[in-house]
Each structure stands twice: as structure tokens, then as C-alpha cells.
């Protein structure tokens, strides 16, 4: 049987709160933790299939044009080399998240410097890498490549469904008592997941097994099938452990398709792993942005107008663009609104989803602008935000589902000691350091996605949870175990969760923060299905069924099952509730920074963050997600930046030595506090997504604190010392 729920009505019956056991929400350790710390969790590169040979991708070294010749023969003569592949099915760039079909294919038409063109396969990795270095290609270089999204020779498109013009913003700006009219720029970012992308392809007859590092097997299998021109039924994908994804492993990417093609041809398993440089050059980047923000406020600081226009970029032919204004649409009031999106078509690495696409940078610019408004209007930044929380969606008139936004602002301010801040900039010194405090709001849209799961209550009274869902380090193994344990009245260690196998029921995949609530709901429904069947079997009313401590009522579960397992299936689909209400998650950040008075170096000294994301499924893994988000915020504020050479679109800092993610010393103790919340409109388990919320505005708290410390407002991210140096106060 299957318990199927379309989320058309709010789930006002909070089943998880009524159960005798409440492991859900507790900071339970990850069941996969011991395997990970002992190195026995099998990541994509670690399967060691007998006879595996190694492939290394070769990139285009020109930014635009055609490949006219590849000198395969010279490389074929090198020791160990087994083949040089350059197949028309090779991917130009990875599939966008949830594409469910092949991205643009064909390696001979070059669209950016770094595009994978060929694959060299050899007996050993070192031989393949050497062959890849040696492979000579000739190009017909096109002279019309464009590399700078803001240059006048670059074609700009205006996606139709992302243009808003409501009321009269220009008039509101004239009429307003306080206005902000500023342009902010954010650079490109890379996900920089710890585990580089890797796939091992092996064939048995016409059946392909692909062991990879992917976030969304339910889509990836179709993308792979479409790329290879084979049936999805002939593919099995395995991805039980993923060493971080952050969007970069949403869609099938070049190494998987190349490995599959080479493996078929050579009749051996082929493993293709990306080097760190290749991760930077061939996997999705977050687009840089130019954001023009206009705020028009009345004498009380209440917005009467709000404008947010953005310019982002992508390769020609890509539908995705960074949805920069996603949260701006609903977070603050103001009846006169203009939000226009423009996309520049450039020959740079493909842009795609990088953790919290949209809000990650959109909220940052908006929250800088709000800080400027607070400063101009003399209203405390926390108070200013609270005054602008709308009653109804200012564009659609929708109501909001659970929204503890004001609570997050107040609680953050209290925990941080915001009342000690001096609103006047450049007043506080600690030795050689200017000290400042800043804050920002957090907001991120909430989504529920279709997901299926199977739960088996085994005859011995243990349970098994199964879905093709991934756990890219987020804690999926833990939370699905916890939900099933509570629903079936079992201790956590009596539930086994199996993930990352495309043969299992299709989960939601991990992306857009929807994985936990969607897959969690599917597991919840599957357990409800089991409870119904068990009640029937025991001849009792389901409402009277009490499952606790491995017992059904007074009877041990194994006895109640009498030798039979019960299989439950769960199937959740989004429905009317996502249209009836604007669903989102909220929070606040409070940062204290020191800016060195001599050098302009900024170091974050304290960070407090408060978040509301519906029911928290595991306090420990949720908090870790938020720590990670805040750390991304520190990086974004202070030093992360993809440096493109505007002469050829070449990414110059394509490694972790020069693309500066924060290191331990950059990160102070972070105080993350999660609010107690239930969102009945979001999912049957009242949970929302939390994986991305941690960075949706975080960088602005840091840069607003830099302003408070120094009186210098930098509107180009990251705020490296060179942008402060000549303006620092004496």
C-alpha cells in the first residue's frame, strides 16, 4: 500500500508531537558518523572495483571557438594510455538542478575556457594525468567571445517572468522622507565542496552502474540516460555518501558521462575524478551580480517603495539565472515596487545553483541597503526591520505561513547584546582595532518537493528506511532514522536508513533546502501506512495503537508481527498550501568585527544567529548547517571571490590556495539559536528547510559591522582591505 498525501490542507494535527517518543528534534549523533570518522564510509572514488582504469578530463584552453584537431596518436603512444575520447555526447557543462534531461552536449564547440573537451584513459591515474597534460589540440578561435558581464558589447536578456513594476517607484522615491539608491556588486563563488566530483562507470552488457557523488539521483539518472541516449531503466546510480555538494552536485556533470562512454568502449570500469582546478573550472559557479537597490521610506522608516534590479550572467543557452530578488519580493513592505532581472550572456564557466541561489547574495545587498536606511533615518536597524514586516504579501496579497521573523530579530538582539552598540560609526577602539557591530535579517523561500520512501517493519521488530535520497553531509541518515523511530516506537539504533541507490523509491534529492522536509514527510507517511496495517493486523483501531519502546501496547513488536514484515510506502506531493501561503524561513544575524586601523584587515570577533525553520528535526545537524551557512557568510563578506580575467574569461584563482574560503582562524565561536516553531502549511511534519538559511544575509551583518566600526561603506564584495585602506578614519 502507499500513503499518498498532496499538501492541500495545513497539517494541523501535529502527529509527531503526540507520540510517546520524541527522538525527532533531539541532537542525536549521526548513525553514519562512526563510518565517516573511521574512513569506512565509501565515497565515490573509493569503490576499488577490480580492473578499474583511470580517466582524466582535458579542458579547452581558449574561451570560444571550435576544436579543429586533436592529436590523439601522440598521447596513445605514452606508457599506459588506453584511449583518448572526444565524443559528441560529452557535456558542455553540468545539468542544472532538477533539469531531468541532458544539458548542452558536444565538445567541439567551445563556449568557455575550461570546458571539458576530451578524456584520456590510462592504466594508472598518473599516466592518465600526464596524457591529459600532453594532449595537443588545435582550435579555430572565435574573436567574438565576451567576458565582462557589464561591458557594453555583451548581450543582455530580460527573463519575462522576473520583471515586476508595481505602483510608481519613481514617485515614491521623490515623495519619501529617507531614500537609499545604491548599487552593490557581489563576485562569483564556488561551492568548494570538500570531495571533488568523481564517477566510476561499469557496464554489464547494456546495464550501466554509475557510482558517483550526486545530490539528486532521481533526476541524475534521467540526465545521464538522456546524455548517453540510453534508457534510464538500464542505469543504476549509487551515491550513498557525498562529501558536500552545496548545489555543485545537483545535475549530472562531465565526468559521469565521459566515464560511462569510455567504460563502454574499453570494457572496464573507468573512474574519473576532477582535480580541484577542474572543480573550479567545469562545475557551476554562482554568478556575480550587480544589484541596484532603491528604498523609499516615510518619516517612521516604513517603506513606501522598494526597488531591486539585478544583472547576473550565464553561458548562452542556459535557462538558469541566479534568482537574486527571490526574498525581496516578500520580506519587506512597500506598495511601489520595481524588480527587474537582466542576464548577460558571457563566455565564462556555467552559472548554476550554489547554496541558497538567490537569497545568498540578494539578501546581502538588500540588508546592506536596509542598514544604510537605518543610518540615514536614525532608526535602530532591528526596529527598522520590524516596522517593515508586511501583513500580507505586498505583491500577491497572500498570507504568510508561520513566520517568527520579529521573534528572531528580538531574540538575536538580546543574545548578542545589541543594546551595547553605539550607532555612530568609528567610535570604538580596542588597541589597534576599530570595533563595530552590525546585523542583518535572514530569509529564504521554503519548498516542498515530491518524494517517496519505503519503510519496512521487519519481523524481528527492527525497521529499515529506504529511499534514493542523498546525504551530502547534511544529516539525512540521522533525521530519517529519527522520524521512523518515533513513528514506530523504536530506539534509534533499531532503525536502519539506506540511501543513495537509484533502485530505491525516489526521494526529493538534496537541494534547495527541501530534502529534509520532503523526504522526512515521505518517511513519515510510510510509517503511517505501517501503523494502519499493523492496527488492522492486531484488530484494533489505529487511534488506539500505541507504539513505544519496541512494543505495540503491551506486546513486543516481534510478537505482534507474528513472523511477517510490514512494508509501508509514503508519497508526498506539494499542493495548494504552497500557493495559499507564502512559506519561508527567517532569522537574524548579529556580528562584531574588528578592522585593523593600520592595514584594514577585518576579523570577525563574534557572531550570533537565530533561525526559525519550522520543526527542527535534529538540533545537532540543523545547528551544524547553520554554522556552515554563517561561515560561508564570513567568506562572502571578507574574501571569497572568483577572479576572472576579463581578457579571456579565464578563472585565475582556481584552487584553494588563492580562492580564499575561511580557515579556522577566520571563524569565531558562533552562537546559533533555533526557535521552537511548527509550520502546519509547510509539511505534515511541520518542518521547513534549514540547509541554506544560514547564509541568506549573513555577509551583510559582517559588512554592516565594518561600516559601524569605520564609517566606510563598501558596496563591492568581498570587503578586502584594499577597499577600506584609503578611507580608514585617522
Amino acid at each position: 500500500m502507499t500513503r499518498h498525501l498532496v499538501m492541500d490542507e495545513p497539517a494541523t494535527k501535529r502527529v509527531l508531537d503526540e507520540l510517546p517518543q520524541s527522538l525527532t528534534g533531539k541532537p542525536m549523533d549521526r548513525p553514519d558518523g562512526p563510518e565517516k570518522v573511521t574512513g569506512t564510509a565509501t565515497y565515490a572514488h573509493e569503490w576499488n572495483l577490480p580492473g578499474t582504469v583511470h580517466g582524466v578530463l582535458v579542458r579547452a584552453t581558449v574561451p570560444k571557438g571550435k576544436v579543429t584537431a586533436i592529436d590523439k596518436d601522440a598521447v596513445m603512444k605514452l606508457p599506459g594510455v588506453l584511449g583518448v575520447f572526444n565524443d559528441e555526447r560529452f557535456l558542455r557543462n553540468p545539468a542544472q538542478g532538477t533539469a531531468n534531461e541532458a544539458p548542452i552536449q558536444g565538445p567541439d564547440e567551445i563556449a568557455y575556457l575550461g570546458q571539458p573537451i576530451a578524456l584520456v584513459v590510462a592504466e594508472t591515474f598518473e599516466q592518465a594525468r600526464h596524457g591529459a597534460h600532453r594532449l595537443q589540440m588545435r582550435y579555430d578561435v572565435a574573436a567574438d567571445g565576451v567576458f565582462d558581464p557589464e561591458a557594453t558589447n555583451v548581450p543582455h536578456e530580460r527573463p519575462e517572468d522576473d520583471q515586476l513594476d508595481q505602483g510608481d517607484l519613481d514617485a515614491a522615491m521623490k515623495q519619501a522622507v529617507s531614500v537609499v539608491d545604491q548599487v552593490y556588486r557581489t563576485p562569483g563563488h564556488n561551492s568548494a565542496a570538500m570531495e571533488p566530483h568523481c564517477s566510476i562507470a561499469s557496464w554489464e552488457g547494456d546495464k550501466l552502474t554509475l557510482r558517483g557523488s550526486y545530490q539528486m539521483l532521481n533526476y541524475n539518472i534521467n540526465e545521464l540516460a538522456d546524455s548517453l541516449k540510453i534508457d534510464a531503466e538500464d542505469i543504476r546510480m549509487l551515491s550513498p555518501f557525498v562529501g558536500g555538494g552545496f548545489g555543485s552536485k545537483l545535475g549530472i556533470s562531465a565526468e559521469a558521462v565521459a566515464a560511462a562512454i569510455a567504460s563502454r568502449e574499453l570494457g572496464k570500469p573507468v573512474v574519473v575524478a576532477l582535480s580541484r582546478q577542474q572543480v573550479f573550472e567545469t562545475v557551476m559557479r554562482r554568478s556575480e551580480s550587480r544589484q541596484h537597490i532603491r528604498l523609499a521610506a516615510d518619516a517612521d522608516g516604513k517603506l513606501i517603495g522598494l526597488g531591486h534590479d539585478s544583472l547576473v550572467s550565464n553561458l548562452p543557452g542556459e535557462d538558469f539565472y541566479e534568482p537574486v530578488m527571490q526574498a525581496t519580493h516578500f520580506i519587506y513592505t512597500g506598495e511601489n515596487r520595481r524588480m527587474n532581472m537582466e542576464v548577460a550572456r558571457v563566455n565564462r564557466i556555467c552559472a548554476g545553483s550554489v547554496r541558497a541561489p538567490g537569497e545568498a547574495i540578494g539578501m546581502v545587498a538588500l540588508e546592506n541597503a536596509m542598514d544604510e536606511l537605518a543610518d540615514i533615518s536614525g532608526i535602530d536597524p532591528v526596529e527598522l526591520r520590524k516596522r517593515n514586516i508586511p501583513e500580507m504579501h505586498p505583491e500577491t496579497g497572500q498570507g504568510y505561513s508561520s513566520r517568527p521573523f520579529a521573534e528572531a530579530l528580538d531574540e538575536g538582539a538580546r543574545r548578542f547584546g545589541w543594546d551595547k552598540r553605539n550607532a555612530k560609526p568609528a567610535q570604538t577602539r580596542d588597541g589597534e582595532w576599530w570595533i563595530g557591530m552590525g546585523m542583518a535579517s535572514a530569509a529564504r523561500v521554503n519548498m516542498l518537493k515530491e518524494a517517496k520512501a519505503r519503510v519496512t517493519l521487519n519481523a524481528d521488530g527492527t525497521a529499515t528506511v529506504e529511499t534514493d535520497m542523498s546525504d551530502p553531509g547534511t544529516g539525512t541518515y540521522a533525521i530519517l532514522t529519527q522520524i521512523a523511530a518515533d513513528m514506530l516506537g523504536l530506539p534509534g539504533d533499531k532503525v536502519e536508513t539506506v540511501l543513495g541507490d537509484s533502485d530505491l523509491p525516489k526521494g526529493s534529492g538534496s537541494g534547495g533546502s527541501f530534502g529534509a522536509s520532503s523526504s522526512g514527510s515521505a518517511v513519515f507517511l510510510a510509517c503511517q501506512d505501517i501503523r494502519t496495517q499493523l492496527a488492522q493486523k492486531m484488530g484494533m483501531d489505529e487511534d488506539d495503537l500505541k507504539l513505544d519502546g519496541g512494543k505495540a501496547g503491551d506486546m513486543a513488536l516481534a510478537d505482534a508481527l507474528a513472523g511477517d514484515a510490514i512494508v509501508g510506502n509514503g508519497h508526498i506531493e506539494p499542493g495548494e498550501t504552497s500557493k495559499d501561503k507564502r512559506q519561508a524561513t527567517y532569522g537574524s544575524y548579529f556580528a562584531e568585527v574588528g578592522v585593523n586601523a593600520v592595514t584594514g584587515e577585518t576579523r570577525v570577533r563574534r557572531l550570533t544567529a537565530v533561525f526559525g525553520a519550522g520543526r527542527i528535526l535534529n538540533e545537532k545537524t540543523a545547528t551544524s548547517q547553520c554554522y556552515g551557512g554563517c561561515i560561508w557568510g564570513i567568506g562572502m563578506a571578507l574574501h571569497e571571490e572568483l577572479l576572472f580575467d576579463t581578457r579571456d574569461g579565464h578563472l585565475v584563482n582556481h584552487d584553494l590556495a588563492e580562492y580564499h574560503v575561511p580557515v579556522n582562524l577566520d571563524v569565531p565561536q558562533i552562537d546559533v539559536h533555533l526557535l521552537e516553531e511548527r509550520d502546519d502549511w509547510a509539511s505534515p511534519i511541520q518542518a521547513k528547510g534549514i540547509g541554506e538559511l544560514g547564509l541568506c544575509g549573513a555577509a551583510a551583518a559582517v559588512t554592516n559591522a565594518i561600516y559601524n566600526a569605520t564609517g566606510v561603506r563598501v558596496r563591492e564584495y568581498p570587503v578586502t582591505l584594499d577597499k577600506l585602506l584609503d578611507q580608514l578614519p585617522e
Binding site: P79, E126, Q277, E432, V598, E601, L643, V663, L665, D666
Partner: protein, 330 residues
């Protein structure tokens, strides 16, 4: 990685003998060389492993200084009691570099010879005169945040990226070098690295097969020493600029001044006139401004690194104020 032959040398003469040949490199800690070999930025035909050589001691010299063997690791050198006591600038410079793991492997000789971090040098798809003489310099007109403000040429604008050697330059240390047939020579650290000129492929004065055996430090001057490294993130990043100082004070006047600068040139930058200007004077902001003017008179930005000129001026002033105990800077 290009296939290469490998020889493990038992002693210095054997190492030098094995390494004589144009495409032969020593391998010490391997923390720089192996990265470059994986990228085929460096592709030697032969590696001579020197890790068995007896060059791992720090010993006292007759004139009251220290002799640091070429294979003393960065970690051991920075932790040595004598270095921490008498040459704190060196200890601090080393600890400001790389990471704990890297410093455990990195050696004194290897650190001196580390290659530039110019982005284009690291990418074999790009023209680079240092990697491939005559191919051009892609950094000029490109991303130049890491690049030189002193002594660049129209062939190369790269910097020597290290920290340790900057401190050694301030301390006026010397490099002991052993060449073919037992020939040995000593070169002041200040003259060890070259300016790029029209031979940017040559980072330093070592000839093919020459081995660094030790670095000697003269007797300590008794001055106040400091190393200040300015960088984008708090750790694990190369210097945008750095200042190493050894400043002695007597009767309210500067009795000894030795300053060296990192992240600004193809070598640790040392300007004897600057040391001379400061020596014998009473410290004052006016004097330090004069010193900065002298130092920066010939500075030349490349666009993306123009900020280094102001940054160096401010950092120099702060270091001098601290070293002369004038108090912290505005």
C-alpha cells in the same frame, strides 16, 4: 606528472653529483615541488632526494650566530629555543606561513627556493616567461593582486611569496651553497634571490646542481625584532605585504636598523639606504614618513596591486612605531 627517474643521495657530494644536469631537481619536503610537478609546471627528468643528508641540525657558529641545516624543517626551526630567544623575527615569520602540516614537511632550503604564486605561472594554458621563457607574461594587464611593486621587469612582475627569507634578509643571513667537485660558496640572503630582468625563469643565483647546505645567522644584534604579515584571511594565505624588522635603540636613538619586505618584489626587498636613513636618528613620525617616502619612491603598481603602496607605507610606520616603542598606531 611526467615520468622521472629518482635517486636518493646519501651525502652532499653524491647529491650534487646526481643532480648535475639541466632538468634535475632536488626534492626536500616536496610541498612546493610536488604540487608543481602534478600540474606539469615543473617537469624534471630526474629527482634527487636529499632527505637522508646530514643537514638537519641547528648549531652554534664561532662568531656567536647559528647555522641552520638546509633540511631543518620549518616547524623545528620556528620552535628552536635559541631562535625564539635571539631571532624571534625568524620564528614569527615561519609561523606566519603555510599551515602546521606544511611546516612539518617544509625545509629551510626548500622554503628559500619556493616558486612564485603568480596565478598564471600555475596554469600551463597561459603564457608565462618564468615557466616557459619567451612565451610572454599574461599577468601584465591581468589579475595582479599578488604581484610586485618593486623591481619588476617587462618580462615578469611576479613576487617571491615566502616569509622565512624576508626575516633572514632583515637578519642579514647567508646561504651556504655546495657545487660541483666540492666547490662551496656563501651568498648573502639579500643577494640570493634575483630580480626577474630578462631571465625570469631564474628565481635565484643557484646554478644547475648546486645545493643549499645551510643558512647562517650572524650573532644577534640585541635589537627589537618583529614580523608583520598582512593578508586577506587570518591564516593560510600568502603575504600581501610583510615587514621584518630588527631595530636597536640606544639613548633614545635608533642604533641599528634592518628592514626587509615581503610580497612586494621578486625577492625579499631590502634597501640599505633605508636602514642607513634610520640609523642614528631619534624616532618620530616625521622620520618614519621620510623613510616611507624613500622606500616607496620607486614603487610601481600594476593596477590590481596599487593598494600595496599605501599598505606598505602604513605597515612600515606601525612596525617602526612598535619597534621604537612609540606606541600603537592611529
Amino acid at each position: 606528472m611526467k615520468p622521472f627517474t629518482y635517486a636518493r643521495a646519501a651525502d652532499t657530494p653524491e647529491a650534487v653529483r646526481e643532480a648535475s644536469g639541466p632538468s634535475h631537481d632536488f626534492i626536500a619536503g616536496g610541498t612546493n615541488l610536488l604540487d608543481l610537478m602534478k600540474l606539469e609546471v615543473m617537469a624534471p627528468d630526474k629527482l634527487v632526494d636529499i632527505n637522508r643528508l646530514d643537514l638537519k641540525q641547528i648549531s652554534e657558529t664561532e662568531d656567536g650566530g647559528l647555522r641552520i641545516g638546509a633540511l631543518v624543517t620549518n616547524s623545528d626551526c620556528a620552535a628552536d629555543d635559541r631562535i625564539r630567544r635571539d631571532y624571534p623575527v625568524l620564528s614569527r615569520a615561519i609561523l606566519a606561513g603555510a599551515s602546521g602540516q606544511l611546516r612539518n614537511k617544509a625545509t629551510t632550503g626548500g622554503n628559500l627556493c619556493q616558486r612564485t604564486r603568480c596565478y598564471y605561472f600555475y596554469d600551463t594554458a597561459m603564457p608565462c616567461n618564468k615557466r616557459e621563457p619567451g612565451s610572454g607574461c599574461q599577468a601584465i594587464g591581468g589579475a595582479t593582486r599578488l604581484h610586485a611593486i618593486f623591481g619588476a621587469s617587462d618580462q615578469c612582475i611576479a613576487t617571491y611569496p615566502g616569509d622565512m627569507a624576508v626575516a633572514m634578509s632583515a637578519l642579514d643571513a647567508s646561504v651556504e651553497i655546495e657545487g660541483k667537485d666540492g666547490a662551496s660558496r656563501t651568498v648573502p640572503v639579500r643577494d640570493f634571490h634575483r630580480l626577474p630582468g630578462d631571465r625570469p625563469d631564474k628565481d635565484n643565483v643557484l646554478e644547475d646542481g648546486e645545493l643549499i647546505t645551510a643558512v647562517t645567522l650572524p650573532a644577534p644584534t640585541g635589537g627589537r625584532q618583529s614580523y608583520r604579515k598582512v593578508r586577506d584571511r587570518a591564516s593560510y594565505a600568502f603575504a600581501l605585504v610583510s615587514v621584518a624588522a630588527d631595530i636597536g635603540m640606544e639613548d633614545g636613538k635608533i642604533s641599528h636598523a634592518a628592514l626587509a619586505f615581503g610580497g612586494v618584489a621578486h625577492k625579499p626587498w631590502h634597501k640599505p639606504e633605508l636602514d642607513a636613513l634610520l640609523t642614528g636618528k631619534e624616532p618620530s613620525d616625521a622620520l618614519f614618513a621620510e623613510a616611507a617616502d624613500l622606500l616607496l619612491a620607486e614603487a610601481q603598481g600594476q593596477g590590481g596591486n596599487n593598494f600595496k603602496i599605501l599598505l606598505l607605507r602604513r605597515t612600515l610606520r606601525a612596525v617602526l612605531r612598535e619597534a621604537t616603542q612609540m606606541g600603537e598606531t592611529a
